[in-house]
Symmetry: C2
């Protein structure tokens, strides 16, 4: 078994691809959704529960982990895999996005960013080199480049200037990256919603050469239409044999449309965050389990789900747990939502492999488009969503 | 298989007893510790996790369940077993203790108690009959009598008056109880720390006749010595072939001493509450995992524990989770603490069966008495605590 990091295409349908991502920590079928494990835990989940949903790779946050418990401490404790009991692949973001979100708490210069911790106000500095070193200390399977991006909308000159600085930083990140078999570093394509700038960014990154390419600076308020048109302009420029990761996206509908546009990897806090706020994803859209109409409903959240919540408990029980502010509510519903996201991705992947993506996508969208659906109407799926 | 409710002695050591509690919902080896599932969930635990610790019976709270989601609603949803996914035996308290704890929010009369909900201030009334009916609606395997007890210390006249009212209520509870094969109702012995009053209470209850007897009104601030002396005066008076349940107790040391005095069943929030506040039970006493000395400690909480926290994670990881206020901290530590309590009870039970209770008790106490122990010094146990 080779431990080289690579993505191998298995099937294609239009621009959508099904493949396998081979890493030092195991192989992941793509397209894949990465649950977010911000500070070394996927919130409210044991790692056994994460595994049971079918997740193949999880995400960790450099910004949060460098502040607590600290990158050197994680290294001393055997790395993030051992720390959080996830021997599979881990992708760590670079901290760039979180630091930019700090607003007045951070100061940007050409060399990097100085910022104050949101936890205790302590001063910290991230540079392309430091971010890369931290991710090495965490033993990230996939290291992300440290980048900078302005909030949208922004003037094209601002976006261009920012993108070009991120490209200079990307070269420094590559310099600092310790190449090892089965490990990877992804460059992050910036350029806002400007097709020309995106193309320039792809050229800069492919000129440096990375194991994979991420599309950053989207899902920041520009709307789905602009996000999709930016993907339309960008993904065809990325080397076809490299994995493509759309950062921080998104809704089930976002995922489907992005896979159709050639994206292989996703992460998003939606399913986990929704799980803590009583919002359940189903084949027919979302349910708010705090709603009184669930109080005496003996049915599971979804008849198509094999998660612990759906196989053992009623909507009424979940409703009760959230009304009573019991920890088990977020535990069960996070589990359910992650199971839904993984089932969605498996369904899309199977459809690509079987050559039926268009039909599957049409079926998914028809389900989502049903208005005023009642749970009674949720039928056995025409196209089984669980392969 | 008979479905009669009964307790059958298997072995005896002094006044300590090992036996089996046969119920409509399964058989439980005794002595047994019942995890507290206040409002239809053992906080921060899935029922699979509760099962994995070896728990055989859990407790639910009438007061909390009648307020939310409501007893009739639980009945409509198939009963508490189905609602919370615990097909095994469930004991429900009567609501008496919680209502008495409300202080100025409740008004006591000879017929019952009127009180205001701590959730929304709504007015409610509990009587012996209503409490018994509610527990029937919940489908409790073991129903407790509705009683009243003053906080200790109190004047003997006050205790006597209160106890006698509880005995009159006990007769009304028995009248209201629907007897079914494999289901039970326990009378609650009151009388504070007055041996004579306890004896009078036992006579009153055995005169009515219950499937089991609970010792109430202890562990309310009187201290271990008075609790043990009260047990010494009380348990010999209880019919030997009935199960005996000491309510709301306690520390590992309390449990051991009470088993030695003839108690078979216990419940207490200590292991679950401690699990949410970073306190870990071990063979050598408790650890506070928020303490900085655990920050880089790669060892498990206990080398003798087979819970998920100990088999997969370091103290450093648990420390990190509590420092970061992550839900997984309470999840893992509640699991660990319940596993410890069940292991403790299995060890005590095995020692009774094997005729080695004195040696086992001496070993347990020697471990607990070690001061300034460091985790390094935790040896392989001389007497294996896990049978």
């Amino acid at each position: 078994m080779s431990t080289a990091f690579r993505w191998v295409e298995q099937a294609r349908s239009g621009r959508a691809r099904a493949g396998h991502l081979h890493t030092a920590h195991g192989t992941v079928p793509t397209p894949t959704f990465m649950p977010v494990g911000t500070v070394g835990t996927v919130k409210a989940m044991t790692m056994d529960a994460v595994r049971s949903t079918g997740a193949g790779i999880v995400l960790g946050n450099t910004y949060h982990l460098m502040l607590r418990p600290g990158a050197e401490r994680v290294r001393a404790l055997g790395g993030l895999h051992r720390f959080m009991d996830w021997p599979g692949p881990i992708l760590t973001d670079s901290g760039g996005f979180q630091v930019m979100s700090l607003g007045p708490l951070r100061k940007l210069d050409q060399d990097g960013v100085t910022f104050s911790s949101h936890i205790d106000g302590s001063k910290h500095r991230l540079t392309p080199e430091r971010s890369t070193d931290i991710q090495h200390a965490l033993d990230a399977t996939i290291t992300m480049c440290f980048d900078e991006c302005p909030a949208l909308p922004a003037a094209p000159e601002v976006i261009a200037q920012s993108m070009r600085m991120s490209m200079r930083w990307a070269a420094r990140c590559r310099e600092a990256f310790v190449q090892r078999p089965g490990y990877a570093q992804y460059g992050i394509i910036q350029g806002g919603t400007e097709a020309e700038l995106r193309a320039e960014s792809v050229r800069a990154l492919t000129g440096i050469g990375f194991e994979g390419y991420a599309i950053g600076g989207l899902a920041v308020g520009e709307g789905q239409e602009l996000m999709f048109s930016t993907l339309d302009a960008t993904t065809p420029l990325i080397p076809w044999d490299s994995p493509r990761y759309l950062m921080g996206v998104g809704t089930p509908d976002d995922l489907l449309g992005s896979v159709e546009r050639g994206v292989d990897m996703f992460d998003c806090v939606m399913p986990t965050r929704a799980g803590r706020t009583a919002r359940a994803y189903t084949e027919r859209g979302t349910l708010n389990l705090r709603n009184a109409r669930h109080a005496v409903d003996l049915r599971p959240i979804s008849p198509h789900c094999d998660c612990l919540a759906c196989t053992r408990h009623s909507r009424a029980y979940l409703h009760h747990l959230f009304r009573a502010n019991e920890i088990l509510g977020p535990m069960l519903l996070t589990w359910h939502n992650l199971a839904y996201y993984q089932r969605l991705m498996r369904g899309i992947r199977s459809a690509i492999v079987e050559g039926s993506l268009d039909a599957h996508a049409a079926w998914l969208r028809a389900q989502w488009a049903m208005e005023d659906w009642t749970p009674d109407e949720m039928p056995p799926p025409d196209i089984p969503p669980v392969p």
